[in-house]
């Protein structure tokens, strides 16, 4: 691992000596305070496994009233850093901006960013000037610092305080290369989000997707990647051959996707480090709809032979494929349950696209979707509690149901929304939206209430998003 990001652990090690001049309240680094803060525990069970129906996360409006102040991060010495041409002081401002944007974009909090807040001194990071913040009608306060070492490595500390209680709720520290400074901000935002929501983190993650340019009849489709907030965007293929349906490997080292390179649709594994790629199977048949197993050891794919499509599994290192479905209907797609024991997939064996579950070895195939219209592109939540899918009844809409097919509800309502992909913590879904006539596509995300929907910034048109796990 190149990154030396290591949460919590490193802070006790690093922060204490450097902050010796301030009387830092660091008696027990992990659990700072005894009294339970205002963690709204009520949000979690709203998404219980069965009977989700329409009860859902009803308190997120209250959340939006939770003011979180995120002033600029302080620095011990303003020194040059490759991460910011204006030095570590300017970088401290940028860190706070990234955190503010992360927290704002989920509709859960009311973050107030560094551009409208006073800037704390370095010594105040572990000892806030409470009077400054109590008068600002904020409930939570995020403080942080950034320090540059001689070898340019950055140390970023992050503290979450309850303003009313004048107490520290959480803290974390990370050592990053200058080029990874945004990751430290995402880690801090993740810490704040997790501590306040009780949910798992998800900001420090990446997205693979297909960048689209050109008119509808001559669309150019390129494989592209970016951070979860759209930063560090990079095109991977040049668009000479159509690229579709990418998926990041669980360790982010590889991307499996479909390419029409050499004329025919085939799935390839692209190595992010080396930039090389290779075919997943030697078959001359069309192969498509690739997915990783949760352990990253297998690839699930669909193959058409003589016009009939079935689902297969192959080891990432090659070798023979194992056929998992054998049906004259179209069996396509597929998504593993988080423990790898089951696969949810799509089949039209009943006459229309519907969603089925089978054991990972292909046994015990059974239909779970019994709604009007058709149901497609199932994706199992990383939490295991829900399956997201595309419901087709005239329009295409994103919906969720539980793994036994109950509790179906829509999350979006537009002309054409398809291809859901889960945030690493299973609380947010990304998908792509197509406009009628122009066929323009864009990436969107929505939370499980269906209320907080927003478009993701991409440099050009965008489809087929695939969200990867939280970075280690």
């Amino acid at each position: 691992m190149i990154l030396r990001i290591s949460a919590a652990l490193s802070l006790a090690l690093l922060a204490t000596p450097a902050m010796a001049q301030t009387s830092s309240p660091q008696a027990s680094p992990e659990q700072s305070v005894a009294q339970a803060p205002i963690t709204p525990d009520t949000t979690e069970p709203a998404q219980s496994n069965e009977g989700g129906l329409s009860i859902v996360v009803s308190d997120d409006n209250d959340w939006q009233d939770l003011g979180v102040a995120i002033p600029a991060f302080a620095t011990d010495r303003n020194v040059p850093t490759p991460a910011n041409s204006d030095g570590t002081a300017a970088l401290g401002l940028e860190l706070a901006r990234v955190i503010t944007a992360d927290l704002k974009n989920n509709g859960l909090f009311r973050p107030v960013g560094p551009d409208v807040l006073p800037r704390p001194e370095y010594g105040q990071i572990t000892s806030p000037a409470w009077s400054v913040w109590t008068g600002r009608s904020v409930d939570m306060l995020v403080h942080g610092y950034v320090r540059a070492a001689a070898d340019d490595e950055l140390t970023v500390g992050c503290y979450l305080y309850d303003v009313a209680l004048e107490d520290q709720l959480a803290k974390g520290g990370w050592v990053v290369k200058p080029s990874d400074w945004r990751r430290a901000a995402h880690k801090c935002a993740d810490m704040v989000y997790s501590r306040l929501s009780g949910e798992d983190p998800f900001f420090d993650s990446k997205i693979a997707y297909i960048a689209e340019t050109g008119p509808k009849g001559k669309r150019v489709k390129r494989l592209a990647i970016m951070d979860s907030d759209g930063a560090n965007h990079r095109f991977i293929t040049n668009g000479q051959s159509t690229a579709l349906t990418p998926r990041y490997s669980p360790d982010y080292q590889k991307i499996v996707y479909l390419s029409y390179m050499n004329g025919n649709p085939r799935i390839y594994i692209y190595d992010v480090g080396t930039g090389k790629q290779h075919l997943v199977t030697e078959s001359k048949n069309a192969t498509f709809a690739p997915r990783w197993s949760p352990d990253g050891k297998y690839i699930l794919y669909s193959m058409a032979s003589g016009g009939n499509t079935d689902i297969y599994r192959v080891s990432v290192s090659g070798g023979p494929s194992v056929r998992l479905t054998d049906n004259p209907a179209i069996d396509v797609g597929g998504s593993y349950s988080p423990d790898g024991s089951k696969i949810v997939f799509e089949s039209d064996r009943s006459g229309k696209q519907q969603i089925y579950v089978m054991n990972a070895d292909g046994t015990n195939q059974r239909r779970i979707s019994f709604f009007g219209g058709a149901s497609a592109t199932p994706e199992w939540s990383p939490r295991g509690d829900l399956i997201a899918f595309t419901h087709i009844a005239g329009n295409l809409r994103i919906a969720v149901m539980n793994p036994s097919g109950g509790g179906m509800r829509y999350l979006t309502n537009s002309w054409q929304d398809e291809a859901p992909t889960w945030s690493p913590n299973g609380r947010i879904i990304q998908f792509f939206r197509t406009q009628p006539n122009s066929g323009e596509t864009s990436l969107w995300q929505v939370d499980l209430t269906g209320r907080n929907e927003r478009r993701l910034p991409t440099p050009v048109g965008a489809s087929d998003p695939a969200w990867g796990p939280v970075l280690p």
């Binding site: 509808k216 669309r219 004329g263 498509f288 499509t309 497609a376 295409l396 066929g439």
Partner: protein
């Protein structure tokens, strides 16, 4: 009808030949344009018989067959078109063809790739049943990736649900 088509193609072939002669000498010779050398035969050269261009013109629209939503069955109209395609392919036994399967935009991507495979294979299988050797026919699905009608309405979708036969040499 057939006569008209030939005349048009002759005209375009002449135009093409004229162009290539005027090309600047610095350009490398186009690798494929080797035929227009001074032929002693007075017969004018249209598209080469057995070429995709020739096939496309000869089919007069019947190189494409159309499908209902989510369907891939071959109806009477499709059979007539495929018979015409098969006659051509049997007339030129040295050529091969690819059948492209396409779908309209109102479906999910992966499923449409599979549906396009079904459509292409349905057309291919019918051609084989008429005597075209399967070894000369291949299929490819483009799913919803290559529409020919750009609108988002039933008429456009009907035009996009298709299987197109392309001659490849």
């Amino acid at each position: 009808m057939k006569y008209v088509v030939t005349c048009m193609t002759v005209a375009s072939a002449i135009a093409l030949a004229g162009c290539s002669k005027k090309a600047p000498e610095s350009l490398p010779p186009a690798p494929t344009e080797t035929t227009p050398a001074p032929a002693p035969t007075p017969t004018p050269t249209g598209p080469v018989p057995g070429s995709q261009q020739h096939f496309h013109q000869a089919m007069m629209g019947q190189d494409v067959i159309y499908f209902d939503t989510d369907k891939y069955d071959i109806d009477g109209e499709d059979m007539a078109a495929l018979r015409k395609q098969a006659q051509y392919l049997m007339q030129y036994p040295n050529i091969s063809a690819t059948v492209e399967g396409h779908c309209d935009e109102r479906g999910t991507r992966d499923y449409n790739l599979a549906l396009g495979e079904r459509r292409a294979n349905a057309a291919k299988n019918y051609l084989v049943s008429l005597g075209v050797p399967a070894s000369r026919l291949s299929t490819i699905s483009y799913g919803k990736e290559r529409p020919v009608a750009m609108g988002s309405n039933p008429e456009a979708w009907a035009k996009n649900r298709r299987a197109v036969t392309i001659v490849v040499n």
